[in-house]
Symmetry: C2
Amino acid sequence: MPKIIIHEVGLRDGLQMEKQVVPTEQKLKWINGLMNAGVDIIQVGSFVHPEKVPQMADTDKLFAELTKNKTSKTILSGLVLNEKGLDRGEKCGVEMYCMGVSASETHSKKNTGMSIAEATERIIATALQAMAAGKRVQVSVQSAFGCGFEGPVPHERVLGIVQRYLDAGLKNISLADTAGHATPDQVEKLYEAIFKLDSSVEAACHFHNTYGMGLANVCAAMKVGVQNYESSIAGLGGCPFTKVAAGNVCTEDFVHALQRMGFRKEINLMKLIDLAKDFAVFFNREMPGLVYKTNPIIVG
Amino acid sequence: MPKIIIHEVGLRDGLQMEKQVVPTEQKLKWINGLMNAGVDIIQVGSFVHPEKVPQMADTDKLFAELTKNKTSKTILSGLVLNEKGLDRGEKCGVEMYCMGVSASETHSKKNTGMSIAEATERIIATALQAMAAGKRVQVSVQSAFGCGFEGPVPHERVLGIVQRYLDAGLKNISLADTAGHATPDQVEKLYEAIFKLDSSVEAACHFHNTYGMGLANVCAAMKVGVQNYESSIAGLGGCPFTKVAAGNVCTEDFVHALQRMGFRKEINLMKLIDLAKDFAVFFNREMPGLVYKTNPIIVG
């Protein structure tokens, strides 16, 4: 039974959507809570320009604080958009860099101002620089399953970007369903094609639950051997640069499902549920997650 | 590619949970809307005692009204609990009878006052009487994937009830995940075991989305060849006799997913979405369905 790795992205992909700025102290509490629950990787924030996403302005500070006297085995990841982000990350102790390009020209242009080809070249250069610094690196393909602007995205285009990554020696590759368009049959086909390109790929997935298919897609990915799963506590999430935004797959709902299927029983589900409740109190609204609203089925 | 049959149960499984009594005229509008959208089967109501579930008191009237000069090909089903319900159904034009027993002793006792063995005997007798009257009959096993009171339900117990149905010549068999406990791996295993008992079973499934796994379970059922799917418009649903209640798989989210995967493109998704919006207005709250809240991806 392969180990399923959980990469919590709510603090980045979730909070960047929220208008209410979250104090650094509150973020630290949540991140420590996630580490205590036993999540494998936590995306602490994004090294985007503070004026573009004020919610991410304290990312450097968070890393500096969290990596000071760190004892937890949880890996702390940060999203970078370019070499500038990498420079910032190297100064504050990022343990894993995440970066990516979109497989949709429209999304790429809106998000980065660059074409897919330009963005791919730049991201590969940045990724290689991070690897040379001895860091873990994950590269992604955004809008890999469809685009809110362009509609269907050809698998060949996604596989072309994946091949560029592989040629550059980048093996940890995530496909992001930025607009929530993925369907389980498509998920199986696309990952199977990627494993055919290179059976040693460390495949990752990032699904949004826009149309209710988040966990169905996760199950399809598990079926074909994907090991790395990005999800958001309480179902936070979305992307301000896509047309239709909705939350990621919800971490505690995912862990609940995993434990019911016999996986990752050492993760503390009740701690995750308490955190989700805390998010609902903080934002004073019902969150998209379902398990925190009911009695979870605890697996012995 | 097998035809996927959609059995809308929101008017029964959904409305029975609602405190606000829905006028008969409103129900007729919704049922006509569902027929116009092209849903295959609609569960109009339940022949339960009107004092027990006042929301279902107009079931006879609805059937009489709907079967008068009926031109739609949509099949109208009704839930019966016993012979009395069947007598009522025969007087008002029910086209398909649904009835079932629980695989949980606690749930069976609370729901019917009978043990599983007693309930099975009684339901089989009622089902055979309905078949003798020339009607379509679907028999179900409730709490087939777990019980809110008892926890796990052994597959052998579910398969034992299914075998009793098969021995009596009842082939249209639905497994209901009354408390939302099902997981995709379990769904595959249980239906595979049923198809082994009799490959000609007309298998049906009824999932609740209590823990977010509704569509994941639906996809698992599709994978192993289940053809009949029960779902609720707007994600209405629940069972007043289980401990944890939550909505069924949402019809328009399911149809949206189906159409994205190439199935049932002739169903009018936009009409279903308009209906879901209408439910949200009528009950003056956000419904569990996701697609109606966003822009659906229309498949050409």
